[in-house]
Structures are given as structure tokens and as C-alpha cells.
Point group: C2
Chain length 319, copies 2
Amino acid sequence: MQIIERNLIEQKLNLPKIFQALKQGFIDFSAGLVTVPPVGHLGFDNPPGDCHIKYGWIKGDPHFVVKISSGFYENPKQGLPSSTGMMLVFSATTGQPVALLNDGGLLTDVRTALAGVLATETLSRPDSRVAAIVGTGIQARLLAEYLDELSRFDRFVIWGRNEENLNRCVQDLLAKGLNVVAEPDLQQLCAKADSILTVTPSEIPLLKTDWIRPGTHITAIGADAEGKQELDSEIFARAQQIIVDSRAQCCHHGEISHAYKAGLISADRITELGTFLSSDKPFVREPAAITIADLTGVAVQDIVIAKSVYQAITQQAVR
Amino acid sequence: MQIIERNLIEQKLNLPKIFQALKQGFIDFSAGLVTVPPVGHLGFDNPPGDCHIKYGWIKGDPHFVVKISSGFYENPKQGLPSSTGMMLVFSATTGQPVALLNDGGLLTDVRTALAGVLATETLSRPDSRVAAIVGTGIQARLLAEYLDELSRFDRFVIWGRNEENLNRCVQDLLAKGLNVVAEPDLQQLCAKADSILTVTPSEIPLLKTDWIRPGTHITAIGADAEGKQELDSEIFARAQQIIVDSRAQCCHHGEISHAYKAGLISADRITELGTFLSSDKPFVREPAAITIADLTGVAVQDIVIAKSVYQAITQQAVR
């Protein structure tokens, strides 16, 4: 078994390649080609924390992947990151472990942001340039960077509840050469955006339906557990197209779950990203309509990114 | 995170210490002090194989443990062991990984055999000396070795379906200085035994009730999945005491599951090993009665052995 540390993983990250593999991963997932058992969970009270085990296999693949990740939100008091993780790659023909990717949660951050870029790029108006990002954490930064690198978006407006965090996020992204400004008013943010990406842990809706301009696309990423919500449920009534990464997960605890459980959206209005991506029918956007993508994170993303990184590093090592 | 390889684990195995810790582990488990979520599973068809993820936490412990193990039964054709595994130790206060025990399944074998010794030593007649072992695989060998080292048993009679495997097993144990003979007739084996330990993958009962001498203890270890069975269900009717490692697991797919599902034994006749070990009332054996222990393997064993090995190795490293 190869032990692959975070430094090497960072060096060898091939974003465009992972982005393409991720697209195929979503297609395979929605086509029922991925075995994804229920997520394993261990909870802790004192200090509060969670461990999640996500694992699965794309049928026919030479490898399967197990990801163990955890979040302990008092860690920063000790100078430790609140979340961490590792991915293990195993042979699907012998069960032998082949690699431990000791990424400390990096690959989860990367695959989450890349899915955000994929959904946003797929659904936004072709003339979109300005992406508004609601949130200032690691996801907000990665989304801006990856949108800049991989999509048609090249201007960014960022909102954060905390002014200091907002300014730091903007400064960091400016230092990376991005065209980015802060916008401390959410309504103003919405007025400037072609697309909006929400990446907060909010438990109350942040975006009101009246603020959303006709033709806007929204990718909601923050709601990854029960009780979280970033969008006013009424926004869904205006949506021409609602996309989810996993129908089961999103209806259970995703951004759409509130509107879905309240009966505001019916099941037939919800399409999985993989189904949408593999559809023969071209998607024709109504000019004034809005579109929404709800991403909760699925194990196929972990499988795809672990495989991509493992392959990139072992091919490198062979040369 | 420390990467601890199998060689070092083998060197540092402190069997008597692990044996004591395991006893306490079973007590904690039956007292409801151990969080053990459902076992995770991934299945493969071509070649056939399984991956199991067992994990849990003893409440209040500084660490939790995740074990990933697999069995691919065509591996030996390629010169690989059919089963493998690893255990990961994490901090229960920060979620950080602290150690990877890359044991290749060794610790699973060890903890399984130690539980067999514990149940057998606990329930056998005090004057027992002769242990009969049904099976010739790795578990048969470890049981003989560990009984010799840790229990009152010092003479061993071994049965195997395949003569060559039987002779090899006996030769190997003789070479280790054990007092051991082969017995190719199962009925004769039972006639010579104070206690019998069954460790085969049999799917049809091997031991008949008429063969079992009064006063015999039986520890059944082979039945660890649905469809497996080593004992004639009628043996249970004669049992004064029936012990299981996990009530839920054993009633579902353990040795007792056949008799239990057929209504031959009622739930009130089944006691968990941990409950039995922590009982205030001394167990008084009726001279002619037989006792039976059914072991299916529980995650607390993995937690205990991983913790013990991790502690032994890191204390060593500090000195």
C-alpha cells in the first residue's frame, strides 16, 4: 500500500482532468452504475464531533474507495482544522489496499467545489460572467478559483456575514489574480449576479425570492445536513429547472428538502445532475426563468477524485 | 498519523494483556457502553468478494477505531491471502487519525481466537485439559496456541476434512511444542474432548448431539454469516448454558440462529458473554450438562485490540 501525503496530492492535482472524470461520475451515478451503501456515522458529544464513512464502487472499476472524514468544531481552539479526512483505495478484484491518500480533507473540499463549478457552468446562461458567492470559507475561495479556471465566469462578488472574514477572503483571491469585489449587502449582491453560489452553514434562508433577477442560476451547496437552509423556499416556485446531485439525499436533507417536504415542489420537477448531463435533449433556457442546483455531496465524487489522484501519482512514479 | 506495519505489530503483541482487555471489552459491550453502528458492506461478483467496515467507540475512550477488511476467495490462485484488513485509530476528541495498523488481517485473526479462548476457559469444567479443534485453518492453529498459553487446556486433538491439511496443521503445532494429535474421525474426536471448538466454514451440521459427552463445553466460531452451521440444532436442547458474543448478531446469523429461528431455544436461555462475565452469581456447572458459546465477532474486539496494540507500540516508542 502506498501512503500518499497531502503535499504530493496538492502538487499532482489535475483539475481539468478531475473535472471531466467527475462529470462522468455523476452520469454513472444517476445511471445506477455506482454501488453506494448508506453513509456510516459515529457521533461524539464532548467535545461535539462526527465521523462519516463514505464508500462505494463504480461497477467494473479496478478499484473501490473508502473515505473516512470527521468534523470537530472546537478543534480551532487547539489550532487544529475542524475537519479532516483520508481516502483509501482498494483493489476491487483482490480486496488489497493499494493506496492511502492522507489528504486531511483537501480532496473533499476540491470535489465539492468542482461539483459546484460543474452544476453552475452547466445551467447558467451562456452569456454569464459574474458569479456571486455567498460565504467566505474554504468552499467560497475554491469556487471562485475553479470557476475562474474552468468556466465562463471571470468576475466575482462575495458576501459574508462577518466583515473581517469577507475582506480577508477578497484579499486572498485578489492576491491570486482574480477579479473580485466584496459586497456586504445581500440584495445588492443578487442584483449584480448572473449566477449565485451559496456555501454557508446557515439554518435560516438568506436569499429572498424578490432579490433574484430573471435569468439567474443558483447553486446551493451549504445545506448538507438536516436543519440547514440558504434559500427562501418560494424561489423554487420560479425555477424552470431544479437539479440535484442525489434525489434521495437532496429530498431528505438538501436545500430542496424544505420546499419538497412542504409540497411546494413535486418529485417530477427534480432532475439528477447525472441524468441532466447525459440527456439527449438540449436544455433551452427561458430568458426570464431561474434555475437551481442543490448539491449535498455523493460518494461517487470521492471515488472519482481518489481514483484520479491515485492514477496521476502512480503513473508519475512509474515513469 | 503513525503507519504501523505488520512486522512491528507481531513483535509487540502482548497476548495476556489483550486477553484481559478483551474481557473488559465484552463486559462494556453488553453493558451498552460501546457505540457500534451497523457493519458497512460492499459486495463484488467477478471475482466474488466482500469488503466489511466495522467501527465503533467505547464511550469515554480517547480513541475510536475503524476496521476495513475484505475476503476474496480466489486470491490464493494468485498467491495472495484470501482475506486482508487494516485498522485505523482516530482521536475521539479531535477526529484526527493517529495510527494506521496495516496488519493485513492479523489482528482480526488474533482477536477472534482470543475470544474463543475466553469463552472456552470461562465455561469449561475446571478439570478440563483436552481441547478438540474442528478445523485446520489459521483459527484452528491460533486457538491451540492461545489455549496452550492462556488457559487450563494443554492437550489438543484436531480434526480436518482434508487429510493433508490436517497433518500439516498437526505438524506445525507439534513444531511449536504443543501436545497435539490428529483425529480423522469426528465421533472419536468428540469422545476424547473436554471442550470442542469448531472453526470451519461448514454449511451443514458437523457435530451430532449423541456424540457429545456429558460435561462437554462447545465453542462454535465458524458460523459468521447466514447459511453457515456446524452443530446439530438438537445439541442446544441439552445445553445448560448458552452464551453468545452479541445477542442480535448470533440470533441473526450465528450458530444458534438455526435453533433460535426454529423455536428450539427461547430468548431467555441466551446470555451475552459480557453479561455472563460481569455477573455476581457464580456459575455452577451441572456435572452432566453441556454448555455452548456462539461467537460471531463484534466490533468491540477490533476496538480493544487496535487500542492495545497502538498503546503498546507508542509507549515503546516514547521510552
